[in-house]
């Protein structure tokens, strides 16, 4: 058991470290061209439509639409379509106020799910570019201008932004804030190696022709933003990442809500990956088919094995403590503690954990640095790896269970 547990831990460490090192190498190799990207400003202003799908979003939709109206972009080149997917609260009344803006169009349709709302918007879109902004998110004025230069490359068919949690408050949102910063770095690296598998709902911008040639959004296990990216990859369309184009999202405030969101995402990722399994191990899909997708699946498997080992070790520890309590009773006493380096854990696993921890923290800080030019280390970043691992056990297990036994995962 000990031998096996050691072996799995080493394999997991190797795998995780390899992945992070690989990402860092790719990032540093391209850091000069990343800096040039940042300096670009648009030379032409293609026409853009932003679709805002709303369903019972009375509290946040105003802020979302206002942020679009305030975008620093030629007014005659930007159109906004609000698609009310059969809201039952005061959302219809709230969005009606935006009718005074000539750039805003409002569609109301019976409820059919987010992808149907997006498709309804796409049906009346006739601009060069089209994007979507979820009603729980909003974009600062300069975001679109930072995305547009990426379309100067004719091969780029979609551009994803850098998503951040807006003014994180509370423990759960701080955890997500770090996760999103890590995501910003990862997305940048994935875009460098051409392996982006999600064009997120908040403010991913596509060329309209993507939908003309590949078709509209699909239901796609409630993760249409994942499926469209995979479909584009399957057809070898280039997806770029504008890491300075910040979009703010609110993020669930409580663990149960976060749990439901993550189960839906991971379920969507796994189910869509199964649907697009033909990408796996094919040379023509490059790093995505040969490395990142297989690595994602392998990491989930390794994660489960390691988590199982850790839980087993905790169980053994608890069992030992129970034996102690059985033999001498419950004693709260601190032995006269004298520091002796001898009892410091100095085995190789400790050093590997330290390296892995440092690497993860630096990826998060890089994510923060490239998106908002801030490098201060936050205390929330330090506990994030531990808390996030524990949380991940919850939603990974649930989502994997659902995929394995073909259980449906709902939206809310």
């Amino acid at each position: 058991m000990d031998q096996l547990s050691n072996l799995t831990l080493y394999v997991t460490f190797f795998f995780a470290l390899y992945f992070e090192v690989f990402m860092l190498i790719n990032f540093f190799e391209k850091r000069i061209s990343i800096q040039t990207e940042e300096a670009r400003t648009p030379e032409v202003f293609p026409s853009v439509t932003i679709i805002v799908p709303v369903f019972n979003e009375e509290r946040t939709v105003t802020k979302t639409v206002f942020s679009l109206l305030k975008l620093d972009y030629p007014k005659d080149r930007l159109k906004i379509i609000i698609v009310d997917d059969g809201s039952t609260d005061s959302t219809p009344a709230i969005i009606r106020r935006f009718r005074v803006h000539r750039r805003v169009e409002i569609i109301r349709k019976p409820n059919g799910g987010k992808y149907t709302a997006l498709n309804a918007g796409l049906a009346i879109t006739n601009t060069d570019l089209v994007g979507c902004l979820d009603a729980d998110s909003f974009a600062p004025p300069d975001t679109l201008k930072k995305i547009i230069p990426y379309f100067e490359n004719e091969k780029t068919m979609a551009v994803t932004p850098a998503i951040k949690i807006h003014r994180p408050d509370g423990f759960i949102r701080h955890v997500q804030s770090n996760e999103y910063n890590l995501g910003i770095f990862m997305k940048k690296c994935f875009s460098i190696i051409g392996a982006i598998t999600v064009t997120p709902g908040p403010f991913s911008i596509f060329r309209k022709e993507v939908f003309d040639s590949l078709g509209l959004f699909h239901e796609a296990h409630n993760t249409e933003d994942l499926e469209i990216a995979m479909r584009m990859q399957k057809n070898r369309y280039k997806i770029a990442n504008a890491h300075t184009a910040v979009v703010y999202t609110t993020g669930p405030a409580t663990l149960p809500k976060l749990y439901r969101q993550r189960v839906r995402w991971i379920y969507g990722f796994l189910a869509n990956t199964i649907d697009y399994r033909s990408i796996f191990f094919k040379r023509k899909y490059g790093h995505l088919g040969l490395f990142t997708l297989p690595a994602a699946i392998a990491s989930i498997i390794l994660f489960f094995i390691s988590a199982g080992m850790i839980l087993w070790n905790i169980f053994v520890m608890v069992e030992k403590k129970i034996t102690e309590i059985q033999s001498v009773g419950l004693r709260f006493h601190w032995p006269d503690f004298q520091f002796d380096w001898f009892f410091l854990n100095t085995d190789s696993k400790t050093f590997l954990s330290v390296v892995l921890f440092a690497a993860t923290v630096s990826l998060i800080m890089y994510g923060r640095k490239i998106s908002e030019k801030k490098t201060r280390l936050s205390v929330h970043t330090l506990y994030f790896p531990f808390v996030y691992t524990l949380f991940s056990i919850l939603w990974l297990s649930r989502a994997t269970y659902a995929v394995t036994f073909s259980k449906k995962i709902g939206w809310r």
């Binding site: 470290l17 390899y18 034996t323 102690e324 033999s327 001898f342 085995d347 190789s348």
Partner: protein, 220 residues
């Protein structure tokens, strides 16, 4: 179309480099720990040899002098470190095994020295404790003994792994008629087997209650 395949190799080399460094550090500090144990053992061996020589020279020592020369406290801390090392490096690690044997010998010698102090006023109370591998009751009584040792500093517990392949230990065990039923405690030359609660132990050692107890006053 993709030209950065070589990064896989670079990443591999760097990751292997990190692993090699980690293993090197792990081994380095492991060796240092073993060295420290070895140094402690030879120091204790030297002190015991010196005490034995004093006995041989004088025939008999004055009590305080002799008590000073006995190093049970240091043996205790060495024992803790050995337990920790067994857990970390594995009980079948040849170096740990060798250190463990030497430690058992030192315990026996210390015990023999203590026995010679029979007539001194503050005579330590001794317990010989034999345990074996795969013995759930041993783990439990281990906690009881640790507790007692913390509470009563004058108590000297010598613990021996019966499965250790050491002839001196086998002799000690056979003198006290220790057989295949563990845990075994030898208190005042009497054999006690099986788990004992703290209260049962106190009943076996009535002099503990009269002695200066409470962990708050370390008197050594």
């Amino acid at each position: 179309m993709i030209n950065n395949w070589k990064n896989y190799v670079y990443a591999f080399v760097i990751t292997v480099g990190i692993f090699v460094t980690a293993f090197y550090l792990g081994n380095y500090f492991g060796d240092r720990k073993i060295d420290e144990l070895r140094a402690t053992e030879s120091r204790i061996a030297l002190d015991i040899l010196s005490a034995e020589t004093q006995f041989a020279l004088l025939g008999e020592l004055s009590c305080p002098e002799a008590q000073n020369s006995v190093l049970s406290r240091e043996l205790d801390s060495l024992g803790e470190k050995l337990d920790y090392s067994e857990e970390k490096f594995g009980a079948d690690n040849p170096e740990v095994l060798e250190l463990k044997k030497q430690y058992s010998l030192l315990e026996i010698k210390d015990y023999m020295l203590i026995k010679k102090l029979k007539d001194c006023p503050k005579q330590p109370i001794t317990i010989l404790y034999f345990y074996a591998d795969d013995c759930p009751d041993c783990e439990k009584i281990g906690h009881v003994l640790t507790y007692l040792r913390e509470q009563y500093p004058e108590l000297r517990i010598y613990s021996f792994n019966y499965n250790l392949d050491l002839s001196a230990l086998k002799t000690l065990a056979s003198i006290h008629n220790v057989r295949e039923k563990f845990p075994v405690l030898v208190i005042k030359n009497k054999l006690h087997t099986g788990f004992k609660t703290i209260d049962e132990m106190r009943a076996l050692l009535p002099e503990l209650n009269t002695a200066t107890s409470t962990s708050a006053t370390p008197n050594d």
